[in-house]
Amino acid sequence: MTDRWAVAVRAAHCLARDPLGLGGLHLRARAGDARDRLMRLLRDFLPDAARLHPEMGDEALFGGLDLSETLRTGRAVRRGGLLARAETLILPMAERARPALAARLGQALDGGAHALIALDEGAEPEERLAPALADRLAVTLDLEGLRAGDMPALAPLEGPAAEDPEDRLAALSVALGIASLRRAGLALRLARTSALIDGRDAPSEADLAFAVTCALAPHATQLPAPPAEEGAEDEPAPDEVPDPSPRQEALPDGDLLLEAALASLPPDLLERLASGPVPRASGMGAGAARKGNRRGRPLPPRPGRPDGRARIDLVATLRAAAPWQSLRGGGPGHPVQVRAQDIRLRRYETRSDRLVIFAVDASGSAAFARLAEVKGAVELLLGQAYARRDHVALVSFRGTGAELLLPPTRSLLRTRKELSGLPGGGGTPLAAGLRAALEQAVQARGRGMDPAVVLLTDGRPNVALSGDADRAAAIGDATAMARALRVSGVTALVIDAGNRPSPALRDLASEMGARCLPLPRADAARLERSVADALG
């Protein structure tokens, strides 16, 4: 089963046979002929599939009050949502679905009465279907590079019944590093369905291989260990504790399933592994301005339909209805006549304050003059703080540790006073500086601010977190802290203040997920401009 079109066609037939049991399809492909062709096939099988929209409101999905009808007839008219009407749902632009929608759909899938076809058009590796949904869909297909004209008809699979499908699928999912227990179950179900559409009772080896290609391999997070060589040296010493990880225990050399999995591993898996899983915190501390309908500074109300999220602005609604009362037969002595078009919704704008945390290298190696420039830049940034609502904090690191020179503040006067006494000299405890900055960032986030870290250094860490002057440990600690910063999702910017741009610092910046700006002769004004530009 190496032909990807054949796999896709078989998967479509399986979905048609058992849509609810399989949960659905995660189709990763750009809009194009190949995708249209497969979707036409699926639509023939599942004619009443309903198309969703990623921004669809809860009312439309799950049903609710039909407002215009209710107001017209004067009694409550309920309208069922899409989920009540359609069994199979198609979600285009699935990579853009909000986590809330993904969660609701996941719940619906768990209910066992729906199947979902998620059309994922993500171009970047980060643009992906919400994992909560992807985990529940049995089939994952990638149509990249396939041409519509080549689509084959369904070819039956042959072969003897497979032995111990459960054990082998479970072993393979361990070997591929798949944490979710759902995947092996879905793969098993897919293999059975695949056998059924050919009219066989039990899945054959080929069915299993097909199921692994569609249901297990796309979820792999590691490459399976290579099959052990005959007589290799991995016989454990008698008194050694056996390795608890069950890597290959049920996978004989040359297993067909393993080969199927290897053949269909996502091509970018290696890259993803090399960079490591980089979880970017989302859903919290998104600090930019947001228009919402729950809290924040009130904005003028707008006409709209209640979608289950917004709240109705009663006064504005009545005001909108008022001029029409005599026409509609309302007015004194009669109940107020409200129509759907009168409804006004409340809107709010929230904007979290931003905190720029400067982590400044005040060691001997960082040119002494630069400290003065940084001081100037901080003051300039603060000068704009009133307009931009920025707070500023300053962490300096030198000698054996870091200290918080300036807690988050918007006070210009206080900053000047603290900055004038900023001392310099000593070793470069970069890790300690980053840790102090991270602590500030996490605290600021807890207070609802949106922190950003600006690291200003020449990038020669030589003091470890413990305070020892150990260059290797210092670099290791700094890298670890940079990763911690990245994981916490703090926006960061690294300014290389050395005379020549340092490659080590650029690597550190990429660990941090930050931009690295070499500014060899930074003066206060340029520094301020760069920071303002880079952080937006």
Binding site: T70, A103, D167, L188
Partner: protein, 336 residues
């Protein structure tokens, strides 16, 4: 629809224990379950409804009151007392504040001009469980609201001219994947117990999961029937433990142990000690006898793991720190 039976869940003993402890003593507070996707978190919570002893409640009462006298005055006409499974209410992401707390019944306001209260999810969860999947992605103001109600046991609605309060005593169960975002320490601390679930690492265990799930999917009713005796036995034990709980007192020495352990770990606040003690008592009531140090050692990780100050560089995480502290404080109870 038949839910997957609780007793058929393979492994995940810590999570199951935590759920049982809150069933024995709901006062322990909520349970936070963090771990990989597809490791049975939702399955365990949804299985609770079938597992737990059914409740007596007045039919038609929006807050599941046990007696007619407790039915709030804003509720409509109610019927007789009936027996219903313990409510387990799902709170989806993206839910509005109105849906959670309840709000003005727009339908009745528009059509009949009446000012009526439409109860929300908190009312429905009263005396039961409220389950939030992906709690770390839930919007902050909803989380704040939930924790506040979970602590006070009462939902107060003051909006749109309504002034209503109703009991909302429930066990909050939150689950999530830590890679997608953390919870604020203030929120972590409000949960009584916290467990970490991981996928079973052995093939044998995974095969067992696969077999049971497969058998369940093929014939749900038969699977549930085969598991019924085990469910019944566990239910009886929980009922017995609830009865035994008031009689289960902790010896003085155990209090000292609790304090010693929390001091050694530097856990914030006193909530850690209190929860630790309650959890040990609940475990003792469930297993019979008085709380012992061995039981304390078993519940310590789940009661304390989320209350430690975080160290961004400590890769080992809180669980390892607690095991270390346990091994130091009680060397004879902790197997090396």
């Amino acid at each position: 629809m038949t839910a997957f039976p609780f007793t058929a869940i393979v492994g995940q003993d810590e999570m199951k224990t935590a759920m049982i402890l809150t069933a024995v003593d709901p006062g322990i507070g909520g349970v936070l379950v963090f771990g990989d996707r597809g490791t049975g978190k939702s399955t365990a919570v949804r299985a609770l409804s079938a597992l737990l002893p059914p409740l007596e409640m007045v039919s038609g009462c929006p807050v599941n009151s046990a007696r007619k006298a407790d039915v709030p005055d804003w509720a409509g006409p109610v019927g007789e007392t009936i027996t219903r499974p313990t409510p387990v209410v799902d709170l989806p992401l993206g839910v509005t504040e109105d849906r959670v707390t309840g709000a003005l019944d727009i339908e009745r306001a528009l059509t009949r001009g009446e000012k009526a209260f439409e109860p929300g999810l908190l009312a429905r969860a009263n005396r039961g469980y409220l389950y939030i999947d992906e709690i770390n992605l839930l919007e902050d103001h909803i989380v704040d609201l939930l924790l506040d109600v979970a602590q006070s046991g009462e939902n107060v609605v003051e909006r749109e001219g309504l002034s209503i309060r109703h009991p909302a005593r429930f066990v909050l169960v939150g689950s999530g994947n830590p890679e997608e975002g953390e919870l604020r320490p203030q929120l972590l601390d409000r949960f009584g117990l916290s467990v970490e679930v991981t996928s079973p690492a052995t093939v044998a265990e995974r095969v067992a999961v696969l077999r049971r799930r497969d058998a369940f999917d093929r014939d749900r009713a038969a699977f549930a029937a085969a598991q019924a005796a085990e469910e019944e036995a566990l239910r009886d034990r929980i009922v017995a433990a609830r009865a035994a709980l008031p009689r289960t007192a902790a010896p003085e020495g155990l209090l000292v142990d609790c304090a010693t352990l929390c001091l050694a770990l530097g856990a914030d606040g006193l909530r850690g000690e209190l929860t630790l003690l309650r959890a040990a008592r609940a475990l003792a009531a469930f297993e019979g006898g008085t709380p012992s140090r061995e039981q304390l050692v078993r519940v310590a990780p789940m009661a304390l793991r989320h209350r430690l100050r975080r160290d961004p560089l400590d890769e080992a995480g809180s669980t390892a720190r607690i095991s270390r502290a346990l091994a130091e404080a009680f060397p004879e109870e902790v197997p090396a």
